[in-house]
Amino acid sequence: MTLLAPLGALGRATLALLAMVGRVALFALSALSHMLRPPFYGREFGAALMNVGWLSLPVVGLTAIFTGGALALQIYSGGARFSAEAVVPQIVAIGIVRELGPVLVGLMIAARVTSSIAAEIATMKVTEQIDALVTLSTDPMKYLVAPRVLAALIVVPLLVAVGDVIGIFGGYAVATGTLGFNAAAYLKNTVDFLEPLDIISSLVKGCAFGGLAALMGCYFGMTSGRGAQGVGRATKGSVEAAAILILAANFLLTGAFFSL
Protein backbone atom coordinates (compact mmCIF):
# COMPACT_ATOMS: atom_id res chain seq x y z
CA MET A 1 0.00 0.00 0.00
CA THR A 2 2.57 2.56 1.12
CA LEU A 3 4.99 1.14 -1.42
CA LEU A 4 2.54 1.89 -4.21
CA ALA A 5 1.55 5.33 -2.91
CA PRO A 6 4.01 7.25 -5.13
CA LEU A 7 2.69 5.32 -8.13
CA GLY A 8 -0.85 6.31 -7.24
CA ALA A 9 0.17 9.95 -6.94
CA LEU A 10 1.94 9.74 -10.29
CA GLY A 11 -1.14 8.18 -11.85
CA ARG A 12 -3.41 10.86 -10.46
CA ALA A 13 -1.09 13.61 -11.69
CA THR A 14 -0.97 12.04 -15.15
CA LEU A 15 -4.74 11.73 -15.29
CA ALA A 16 -5.16 15.32 -14.17
CA LEU A 17 -2.73 16.44 -16.86
CA LEU A 18 -4.53 14.46 -19.54
CA ALA A 19 -7.90 15.83 -18.44
CA MET A 20 -6.46 19.33 -18.62
CA VAL A 21 -5.06 18.70 -22.11
CA GLY A 22 -8.50 17.47 -23.15
CA ARG A 23 -10.22 20.54 -21.74
CA VAL A 24 -7.76 22.89 -23.42
CA ALA A 25 -8.16 21.06 -26.74
CA LEU A 26 -11.96 21.32 -26.53
CA PHE A 27 -11.63 24.99 -25.65
CA ALA A 28 -9.38 25.56 -28.66
CA LEU A 29 -11.82 23.77 -30.98
CA SER A 30 -14.70 25.80 -29.63
CA ALA A 31 -12.73 29.03 -30.09
CA LEU A 32 -11.94 28.05 -33.69
CA SER A 33 -15.53 27.22 -34.48
CA HIS A 34 -16.68 30.56 -33.06
CA MET A 35 -14.16 32.35 -35.26
CA LEU A 36 -15.85 30.96 -38.33
CA ARG A 37 -19.50 31.63 -37.43
CA PRO A 38 -21.22 35.01 -37.08
CA PRO A 39 -21.83 37.27 -35.28
CA PHE A 40 -18.35 38.78 -35.52
CA TYR A 41 -17.29 41.55 -33.20
CA GLY A 42 -15.22 43.92 -35.31
CA ARG A 43 -14.57 46.42 -32.55
CA GLU A 44 -13.20 43.75 -30.23
CA PHE A 45 -11.10 42.34 -33.05
CA GLY A 46 -9.67 45.77 -33.86
CA ALA A 47 -8.80 46.40 -30.23
CA ALA A 48 -7.11 43.00 -30.01
CA LEU A 49 -5.09 43.68 -33.19
CA MET A 50 -3.96 46.95 -31.68
CA ASN A 51 -3.03 45.42 -28.36
CA VAL A 52 -1.37 42.24 -29.60
CA GLY A 53 0.31 43.74 -32.65
CA TRP A 54 1.01 47.43 -32.65
CA LEU A 55 1.61 47.87 -28.94
CA SER A 56 3.98 44.87 -28.87
CA LEU A 57 6.27 46.38 -31.49
CA PRO A 58 8.65 48.22 -29.10
CA VAL A 59 9.24 45.11 -26.97
CA VAL A 60 9.72 42.93 -30.03
CA GLY A 61 12.08 45.41 -31.68
CA LEU A 62 14.28 45.84 -28.62
CA THR A 63 14.45 42.10 -27.94
CA ALA A 64 15.39 41.39 -31.55
CA ILE A 65 18.04 44.07 -31.95
CA PHE A 66 19.96 43.13 -28.82
CA THR A 67 19.74 39.42 -29.58
CA GLY A 68 20.95 39.92 -33.17
CA GLY A 69 23.88 42.01 -31.96
CA ALA A 70 24.88 39.51 -29.27
CA LEU A 71 24.55 36.65 -31.71
CA ALA A 72 26.96 38.33 -34.14
CA LEU A 73 29.53 38.81 -31.37
CA GLN A 74 29.21 35.17 -30.23
CA ILE A 75 29.50 33.70 -33.69
CA TYR A 76 32.49 35.90 -34.47
CA SER A 77 34.41 34.93 -31.34
CA GLY A 78 33.33 31.27 -31.54
CA GLY A 79 34.09 31.09 -35.26
CA ALA A 80 37.54 32.58 -34.65
CA ARG A 81 38.55 29.35 -32.87
CA PHE A 82 38.63 27.59 -36.23
CA SER A 83 39.11 30.57 -38.52
CA ALA A 84 35.46 30.71 -39.55
CA GLU A 85 34.73 34.35 -38.62
CA ALA A 86 33.37 34.94 -42.13
CA VAL A 87 30.18 32.94 -41.49
CA VAL A 88 28.68 35.61 -39.20
CA PRO A 89 26.05 36.86 -41.70
CA GLN A 90 24.86 33.39 -42.61
CA ILE A 91 24.63 32.04 -39.08
CA VAL A 92 23.00 35.21 -37.74
CA ALA A 93 20.41 34.96 -40.50
CA ILE A 94 19.66 31.29 -39.85
CA GLY A 95 19.75 31.66 -36.09
CA ILE A 96 17.41 34.61 -36.05
CA VAL A 97 14.98 33.58 -38.76
CA ARG A 98 14.63 29.92 -37.91
CA GLU A 99 14.87 29.98 -34.13
CA LEU A 100 15.47 33.09 -32.09
CA GLY A 101 13.09 35.41 -33.91
CA PRO A 102 9.97 33.29 -33.52
CA VAL A 103 10.86 31.94 -30.07
CA LEU A 104 11.75 35.27 -28.53
CA VAL A 105 8.76 37.02 -30.06
CA GLY A 106 6.58 34.13 -28.88
CA LEU A 107 7.90 34.41 -25.32
CA MET A 108 7.52 38.18 -25.32
CA ILE A 109 3.93 37.78 -26.47
CA ALA A 110 3.40 35.23 -23.69
CA ALA A 111 4.74 37.74 -21.17
CA ARG A 112 2.90 40.73 -22.53
CA VAL A 113 -0.28 39.51 -24.18
CA THR A 114 -1.09 36.19 -22.50
CA SER A 115 -0.82 37.72 -19.06
CA SER A 116 -2.95 40.72 -19.89
CA ILE A 117 -5.65 38.63 -21.60
CA ALA A 118 -5.75 36.22 -18.66
CA ALA A 119 -5.90 38.98 -16.06
CA GLU A 120 -8.57 40.89 -17.96
CA ILE A 121 -10.86 37.94 -18.62
CA ALA A 122 -10.34 36.53 -15.11
CA THR A 123 -11.28 39.88 -13.60
CA MET A 124 -14.38 39.95 -15.78
CA LYS A 125 -15.22 36.46 -14.55
CA VAL A 126 -14.71 37.35 -10.91
CA THR A 127 -16.79 40.54 -11.14
CA GLU A 128 -19.64 38.67 -12.91
CA GLN A 129 -19.09 40.56 -16.16
CA ILE A 130 -18.96 37.24 -18.02
CA ASP A 131 -22.32 36.29 -16.50
CA ALA A 132 -23.63 39.69 -17.49
CA LEU A 133 -22.48 39.12 -21.09
CA VAL A 134 -24.37 35.84 -21.18
CA THR A 135 -27.57 37.41 -19.86
CA LEU A 136 -27.26 40.03 -22.59
CA SER A 137 -27.34 37.20 -25.16
CA THR A 138 -23.67 37.57 -25.99
CA ASP A 139 -21.49 34.48 -26.10
CA PRO A 140 -18.20 35.20 -24.27
CA MET A 141 -16.43 32.71 -26.54
CA LYS A 142 -17.44 34.85 -29.49
CA TYR A 143 -17.13 38.26 -27.89
CA LEU A 144 -13.95 37.80 -25.84
CA VAL A 145 -12.08 34.71 -27.00
CA ALA A 146 -12.49 34.47 -30.77
CA PRO A 147 -11.37 38.06 -31.58
CA ARG A 148 -8.27 37.78 -29.41
CA VAL A 149 -7.16 34.41 -30.75
CA LEU A 150 -7.83 35.42 -34.35
CA ALA A 151 -5.91 38.67 -33.90
CA ALA A 152 -2.93 36.79 -32.47
CA LEU A 153 -2.97 34.22 -35.29
CA ILE A 154 -2.82 37.01 -37.84
CA VAL A 155 -0.57 39.56 -36.22
CA VAL A 156 2.10 37.50 -34.43
CA PRO A 157 3.59 36.15 -37.70
CA LEU A 158 3.90 39.78 -38.80
CA LEU A 159 5.61 40.61 -35.51
CA VAL A 160 7.98 37.69 -36.08
CA ALA A 161 8.76 39.02 -39.56
CA VAL A 162 9.52 42.42 -38.07
CA GLY A 163 11.59 40.78 -35.33
CA ASP A 164 13.55 38.77 -37.92
CA VAL A 165 14.42 41.88 -39.92
CA ILE A 166 15.40 43.88 -36.85
CA GLY A 167 17.40 40.94 -35.45
CA ILE A 168 19.36 40.61 -38.67
CA PHE A 169 19.87 44.34 -38.64
CA GLY A 170 21.24 44.08 -35.08
CA GLY A 171 23.79 41.53 -36.28
CA TYR A 172 24.56 43.67 -39.30
CA ALA A 173 25.11 46.78 -37.19
CA VAL A 174 27.54 45.02 -34.86
CA ALA A 175 29.35 43.18 -37.65
CA THR A 176 29.84 46.24 -39.83
CA GLY A 177 30.32 48.65 -36.93
CA THR A 178 32.84 46.82 -34.75
CA LEU A 179 33.86 43.58 -36.43
CA GLY A 180 35.02 45.10 -39.72
CA PHE A 181 32.56 43.43 -42.12
CA ASN A 182 31.82 45.05 -45.47
CA ALA A 183 28.23 46.34 -45.43
CA ALA A 184 27.23 45.38 -48.96
CA ALA A 185 28.83 41.93 -48.73
CA TYR A 186 27.11 41.27 -45.39
CA LEU A 187 23.70 41.99 -46.82
CA LYS A 188 24.37 40.01 -49.99
CA ASN A 189 25.55 37.01 -47.95
CA THR A 190 22.45 37.17 -45.80
CA VAL A 191 20.02 37.41 -48.70
CA ASP A 192 21.74 34.75 -50.79
CA PHE A 193 21.92 32.34 -47.91
CA LEU A 194 18.32 32.41 -46.66
CA GLU A 195 15.95 29.99 -48.36
CA PRO A 196 12.19 30.38 -48.70
CA LEU A 197 11.66 27.48 -46.28
CA ASP A 198 13.56 29.37 -43.57
CA ILE A 199 11.17 32.27 -43.86
CA ILE A 200 8.08 30.10 -44.17
CA SER A 201 9.06 28.16 -41.04
CA SER A 202 9.55 31.43 -39.20
CA LEU A 203 6.08 32.70 -40.09
CA VAL A 204 4.39 29.37 -39.38
CA LYS A 205 6.02 29.31 -35.97
CA GLY A 206 4.83 32.85 -35.35
CA CYS A 207 1.27 31.86 -36.20
CA ALA A 208 1.39 28.80 -33.94
CA PHE A 209 2.99 30.66 -31.03
CA GLY A 210 0.58 33.56 -31.31
CA GLY A 211 -2.39 31.20 -31.31
CA LEU A 212 -1.05 29.31 -28.29
CA ALA A 213 -0.31 32.50 -26.37
CA ALA A 214 -3.78 33.98 -26.90
CA LEU A 215 -5.55 30.67 -26.26
CA MET A 216 -3.77 30.13 -22.95
CA GLY A 217 -4.64 33.64 -21.82
CA CYS A 218 -8.29 33.11 -22.68
CA TYR A 219 -8.47 29.59 -21.25
CA PHE A 220 -6.97 30.47 -17.90
CA GLY A 221 -9.04 33.65 -17.73
CA MET A 222 -12.30 31.88 -18.47
CA THR A 223 -11.59 29.11 -15.95
CA SER A 224 -10.31 31.47 -13.23
CA GLY A 225 -11.16 30.81 -9.60
CA ARG A 226 -12.89 33.33 -7.37
CA GLY A 227 -11.39 36.49 -5.88
CA ALA A 228 -8.12 38.32 -6.38
CA GLN A 229 -6.27 35.08 -5.72
CA GLY A 230 -8.13 33.43 -8.59
CA VAL A 231 -7.05 36.22 -10.94
CA GLY A 232 -3.44 35.92 -9.77
CA ARG A 233 -3.38 32.16 -10.26
CA ALA A 234 -4.98 32.41 -13.67
CA THR A 235 -2.42 34.96 -14.82
CA LYS A 236 0.56 33.02 -13.54
CA GLY A 237 -0.74 29.72 -14.90
CA SER A 238 -1.46 31.19 -18.32
CA VAL A 239 2.06 32.57 -18.78
CA GLU A 240 3.70 29.33 -17.62
CA ALA A 241 1.52 27.22 -19.87
CA ALA A 242 1.99 29.53 -22.86
CA ALA A 243 5.80 29.65 -22.47
CA ILE A 244 6.15 25.88 -22.13
CA LEU A 245 3.78 25.15 -24.98
CA ILE A 246 5.60 27.63 -27.20
CA LEU A 247 8.97 26.02 -26.50
CA ALA A 248 7.57 22.51 -27.02
CA ALA A 249 5.82 23.54 -30.22
CA ASN A 250 9.04 25.15 -31.40
CA PHE A 251 10.88 21.88 -30.96
CA LEU A 252 8.21 19.94 -32.82
CA LEU A 253 7.96 22.47 -35.64
CA THR A 254 11.74 22.66 -36.05
CA GLY A 255 11.76 18.88 -36.30
CA ALA A 256 8.95 18.90 -38.82
CA PHE A 257 10.57 21.55 -41.01
CA PHE A 258 14.26 20.71 -40.92
CA SER A 259 14.90 17.11 -39.93
CA LEU A 260 13.37 15.55 -43.03
Binding site: T127, E128, Q129, A132, T135, S137, T138
Partner: protein, 248 residues
Protein backbone atom coordinates in the same frame (compact mmCIF):
# COMPACT_ATOMS: atom_id res chain seq x y z
CA UNK B 1 -45.03 32.18 -15.09
CA UNK B 2 -41.81 30.86 -13.62
CA UNK B 3 -42.01 27.62 -11.72
CA UNK B 4 -39.27 25.97 -9.67
CA UNK B 5 -39.62 22.42 -8.39
CA UNK B 6 -37.15 20.78 -6.03
CA UNK B 7 -34.16 22.84 -7.18
CA UNK B 8 -30.93 21.86 -5.41
CA UNK B 9 -27.42 23.17 -5.75
CA UNK B 10 -24.25 22.41 -3.83
CA UNK B 11 -20.75 23.82 -4.20
CA UNK B 12 -18.59 20.98 -2.92
CA UNK B 13 -19.80 20.31 0.61
CA UNK B 14 -21.68 23.57 0.79
CA UNK B 15 -25.31 22.61 0.17
CA UNK B 16 -26.76 25.97 -0.74
CA UNK B 17 -30.16 25.07 -2.19
CA UNK B 18 -31.81 21.96 -0.78
CA UNK B 19 -35.03 21.72 -2.75
CA UNK B 20 -36.56 25.07 -3.63
CA UNK B 21 -40.22 25.11 -4.75
CA UNK B 22 -41.45 28.49 -5.89
CA UNK B 23 -43.92 29.92 -8.37
CA UNK B 24 -43.86 33.45 -9.71
CA UNK B 25 -47.03 34.48 -11.53
CA UNK B 26 -46.78 36.48 -14.70
CA UNK B 27 -46.97 40.25 -14.20
CA UNK B 28 -46.37 40.10 -10.46
CA UNK B 29 -43.54 41.25 -8.27
CA UNK B 30 -41.92 38.63 -6.09
CA UNK B 31 -39.43 39.63 -3.43
CA UNK B 32 -36.99 37.10 -2.01
CA UNK B 33 -35.71 37.76 1.47
CA UNK B 34 -33.33 35.71 3.55
CA UNK B 35 -30.09 35.89 5.44
CA UNK B 36 -26.79 36.72 3.86
CA UNK B 37 -25.25 33.68 2.19
CA UNK B 38 -28.45 31.62 2.02
CA UNK B 39 -28.28 31.32 -1.75
CA UNK B 40 -30.61 34.04 -3.04
CA UNK B 41 -28.20 35.15 -5.76
CA UNK B 42 -27.49 31.53 -6.66
CA UNK B 43 -31.24 30.96 -7.05
CA UNK B 44 -31.56 33.75 -9.62
CA UNK B 45 -28.51 32.46 -11.47
CA UNK B 46 -30.03 28.98 -11.59
CA UNK B 47 -33.13 30.34 -13.32
CA UNK B 48 -31.00 32.19 -15.86
CA UNK B 49 -28.84 29.12 -16.46
CA UNK B 50 -25.66 30.84 -15.25
CA UNK B 51 -25.39 28.19 -12.55
CA UNK B 52 -26.50 24.65 -13.39
CA UNK B 53 -28.74 23.21 -10.66
CA UNK B 54 -27.85 19.71 -9.45
CA UNK B 55 -31.46 18.56 -9.45
CA UNK B 56 -34.98 19.86 -9.90
CA UNK B 57 -36.82 21.52 -12.76
CA UNK B 58 -37.26 25.15 -13.68
CA UNK B 59 -39.94 26.01 -16.20
CA UNK B 60 -40.95 29.24 -17.89
CA UNK B 61 -44.54 29.16 -19.09
CA UNK B 62 -44.49 25.41 -18.95
CA UNK B 63 -41.30 24.79 -20.94
CA UNK B 64 -38.16 23.54 -19.24
CA UNK B 65 -35.60 26.35 -19.36
CA UNK B 66 -32.76 23.96 -20.17
CA UNK B 67 -34.59 22.83 -23.30
CA UNK B 68 -35.49 26.18 -24.84
CA UNK B 69 -33.59 28.25 -27.38
CA UNK B 70 -31.12 30.08 -25.12
CA UNK B 71 -31.01 33.30 -27.13
CA UNK B 72 -34.78 33.66 -27.35
CA UNK B 73 -35.05 32.81 -23.65
CA UNK B 74 -32.44 35.32 -22.51
CA UNK B 75 -33.85 38.03 -24.78
CA UNK B 76 -36.92 38.11 -22.51
CA UNK B 77 -34.83 38.74 -19.39
CA UNK B 78 -33.07 41.64 -17.76
CA UNK B 79 -30.77 41.15 -14.81
CA UNK B 80 -29.24 43.53 -12.33
CA UNK B 81 -26.27 41.82 -10.68
CA UNK B 82 -25.49 42.32 -7.02
CA UNK B 83 -22.11 43.84 -7.91
CA UNK B 84 -23.54 45.73 -10.91
CA UNK B 85 -21.13 43.81 -13.22
CA UNK B 86 -20.67 46.71 -15.60
CA UNK B 87 -18.25 46.19 -18.50
CA UNK B 88 -15.39 48.38 -17.43
CA UNK B 89 -13.94 48.76 -20.91
CA UNK B 90 -17.11 50.42 -22.22
CA UNK B 91 -18.49 53.87 -21.40
CA UNK B 92 -21.68 54.02 -19.36
CA UNK B 93 -24.06 54.55 -22.26
CA UNK B 94 -22.67 51.57 -24.18
CA UNK B 95 -23.13 49.46 -21.08
CA UNK B 96 -26.76 50.50 -20.83
CA UNK B 97 -27.38 50.08 -24.56
CA UNK B 98 -25.36 46.86 -24.83
CA UNK B 99 -28.24 44.66 -25.89
CA UNK B 100 -29.63 47.34 -28.21
CA UNK B 101 -26.30 47.43 -30.05
CA UNK B 102 -26.15 43.65 -30.60
CA UNK B 103 -27.95 41.21 -32.78
CA UNK B 104 -29.85 41.30 -36.01
CA UNK B 105 -32.21 44.17 -35.28
CA UNK B 106 -29.70 46.38 -33.54
CA UNK B 107 -30.35 50.10 -33.31
CA UNK B 108 -28.14 52.71 -34.96
CA UNK B 109 -25.69 54.18 -32.45
CA UNK B 110 -27.29 57.63 -31.98
CA UNK B 111 -30.68 56.09 -31.35
CA UNK B 112 -29.28 53.53 -28.91
CA UNK B 113 -27.51 56.35 -27.11
CA UNK B 114 -30.73 58.32 -26.76
CA UNK B 115 -32.47 55.24 -25.34
CA UNK B 116 -29.59 54.75 -22.91
CA UNK B 117 -29.76 58.35 -21.71
CA UNK B 118 -33.51 58.05 -21.25
CA UNK B 119 -33.05 54.92 -19.08
CA UNK B 120 -30.26 56.62 -17.13
CA UNK B 121 -32.63 59.48 -16.39
CA UNK B 122 -35.20 57.01 -15.07
CA UNK B 123 -32.70 55.69 -12.52
CA UNK B 124 -31.86 59.25 -11.46
CA UNK B 125 -28.64 59.77 -13.40
CA UNK B 126 -27.92 62.83 -15.51
CA UNK B 127 -26.94 62.62 -19.17
CA UNK B 128 -23.39 63.70 -18.41
CA UNK B 129 -22.49 60.32 -16.90
CA UNK B 130 -23.18 58.68 -20.28
CA UNK B 131 -19.64 59.12 -21.57
CA UNK B 132 -17.83 58.27 -18.37
CA UNK B 133 -16.29 54.88 -17.65
CA UNK B 134 -17.89 52.73 -14.92
CA UNK B 135 -14.73 52.90 -12.80
CA UNK B 136 -15.21 56.66 -12.49
CA UNK B 137 -18.61 56.29 -10.80
CA UNK B 138 -19.49 55.73 -7.16
CA UNK B 139 -20.81 52.34 -6.04
CA UNK B 140 -24.41 53.54 -5.89
CA UNK B 141 -24.13 55.15 -9.31
CA UNK B 142 -22.74 51.92 -10.76
CA UNK B 143 -25.65 50.05 -9.25
CA UNK B 144 -28.09 52.39 -10.94
CA UNK B 145 -26.29 52.06 -14.29
CA UNK B 146 -26.65 48.29 -13.87
CA UNK B 147 -30.33 48.83 -13.25
CA UNK B 148 -30.64 50.98 -16.37
CA UNK B 149 -28.91 48.23 -18.35
CA UNK B 150 -31.31 45.61 -16.97
CA UNK B 151 -34.37 47.55 -18.11
CA UNK B 152 -32.86 49.02 -21.31
CA UNK B 153 -34.47 46.58 -23.74
CA UNK B 154 -37.83 46.63 -21.90
CA UNK B 155 -37.66 42.95 -20.93
CA UNK B 156 -40.71 40.94 -19.84
CA UNK B 157 -38.99 39.45 -16.84
CA UNK B 158 -36.54 41.36 -14.68
CA UNK B 159 -34.35 40.13 -11.84
CA UNK B 160 -32.99 42.68 -9.41
CA UNK B 161 -30.29 41.51 -7.03
CA UNK B 162 -30.31 44.06 -4.18
CA UNK B 163 -31.29 47.11 -6.25
CA UNK B 164 -31.22 49.59 -3.38
CA UNK B 165 -28.15 48.43 -1.46
CA UNK B 166 -25.65 51.27 -1.23
CA UNK B 167 -28.15 53.97 -2.20
CA UNK B 168 -29.21 56.91 -0.11
CA UNK B 169 -32.82 56.74 1.20
CA UNK B 170 -34.17 59.18 -1.39
CA UNK B 171 -32.56 57.35 -4.28
CA UNK B 172 -33.74 54.04 -2.82
CA UNK B 173 -37.26 55.45 -2.88
CA UNK B 174 -36.87 56.46 -6.52
CA UNK B 175 -35.71 52.95 -7.43
CA UNK B 176 -38.51 51.28 -5.47
CA UNK B 177 -41.02 53.40 -7.34
CA UNK B 178 -39.36 52.59 -10.66
CA UNK B 179 -39.55 48.85 -10.04
CA UNK B 180 -43.18 49.11 -8.98
CA UNK B 181 -43.93 51.15 -12.09
CA UNK B 182 -42.26 48.64 -14.40
CA UNK B 183 -44.47 45.90 -12.98
CA UNK B 184 -47.78 47.74 -12.83
CA UNK B 185 -47.51 49.88 -15.94
CA UNK B 186 -45.51 47.69 -18.26
CA UNK B 187 -46.81 44.37 -17.02
CA UNK B 188 -43.35 42.95 -16.40
CA UNK B 189 -42.64 40.10 -14.04
CA UNK B 190 -40.09 41.06 -11.41
CA UNK B 191 -38.08 39.03 -8.96
CA UNK B 192 -36.16 41.15 -6.47
CA UNK B 193 -33.72 40.22 -3.77
CA UNK B 194 -33.49 42.76 -1.00
CA UNK B 195 -32.56 43.14 2.65
CA UNK B 196 -34.35 46.45 2.91
CA UNK B 197 -37.76 45.97 4.54
CA UNK B 198 -38.99 49.34 3.23
CA UNK B 199 -38.23 48.09 -0.27
CA UNK B 200 -40.01 44.81 0.39
CA UNK B 201 -43.20 46.64 1.28
CA UNK B 202 -42.87 49.12 -1.58
CA UNK B 203 -42.08 46.66 -4.34
CA UNK B 204 -43.66 43.32 -3.67
CA UNK B 205 -46.92 41.55 -4.41
CA UNK B 206 -45.63 38.38 -2.82
CA UNK B 207 -42.71 37.64 -0.54
CA UNK B 208 -40.73 34.44 -0.21
CA UNK B 209 -38.20 33.76 2.48
CA UNK B 210 -35.25 31.52 1.72
CA UNK B 211 -33.71 29.81 4.71
CA UNK B 212 -31.59 26.67 5.04
CA UNK B 213 -31.85 26.00 1.32
CA UNK B 214 -35.63 25.89 1.15
CA UNK B 215 -38.47 28.42 0.85
CA UNK B 216 -39.31 28.79 4.51
CA UNK B 217 -42.42 30.89 3.95
CA UNK B 218 -44.20 32.49 1.04
CA UNK B 219 -47.29 34.62 0.91
CA UNK B 220 -48.74 37.99 -0.09
CA UNK B 221 -46.97 41.01 1.32
CA UNK B 222 -50.13 41.93 3.26
CA UNK B 223 -49.59 38.83 5.41
CA UNK B 224 -45.92 39.51 6.04
CA UNK B 225 -46.51 40.90 9.54
CA UNK B 226 -49.00 38.21 10.49
CA UNK B 227 -47.27 35.27 8.90
CA UNK B 228 -47.03 33.33 12.12
CA UNK B 229 -43.65 32.06 10.98
CA UNK B 230 -40.95 32.58 13.61
CA UNK B 231 -38.21 32.88 10.97
CA UNK B 232 -40.06 35.61 9.08
CA UNK B 233 -40.99 37.37 12.28
CA UNK B 234 -37.38 37.42 13.43
CA UNK B 235 -36.15 38.52 10.02
CA UNK B 236 -38.49 41.50 9.65
CA UNK B 237 -37.92 42.65 13.19
CA UNK B 238 -34.16 42.31 12.80
CA UNK B 239 -33.83 40.69 16.20
CA UNK B 240 -30.80 38.67 17.24
CA UNK B 241 -33.11 36.43 19.30
CA UNK B 242 -34.98 33.71 17.44
CA UNK B 243 -34.64 30.54 15.41
CA UNK B 244 -32.13 32.09 12.94
CA UNK B 245 -28.64 31.97 14.35
CA UNK B 246 -26.76 35.26 14.28
CA UNK B 247 -23.48 33.55 13.45
CA UNK B 248 -23.65 31.68 10.14
Amino acid sequence: MIDLQGVTKAFGNNHVLRGVDLTIERGTSMVIIGGSGTGKSVLLKCILGLVAPDAGTITLEGTDVTKTDRDAFLARFGMLFQGAALFDSLPVWQNVAFRLLQGRDRLPKPEARDRAIEKLRRVGLKADVADRLPAELSGGMQKRVGLARAIAADPEIIFFDEPTTGLDPIMAGVINELIREIVTEMGATAMTITHDMTSVRAISDRVAMLHDGVIQWTGPVSQLDSSGDPYVAQFISGSAEGPIEAVR
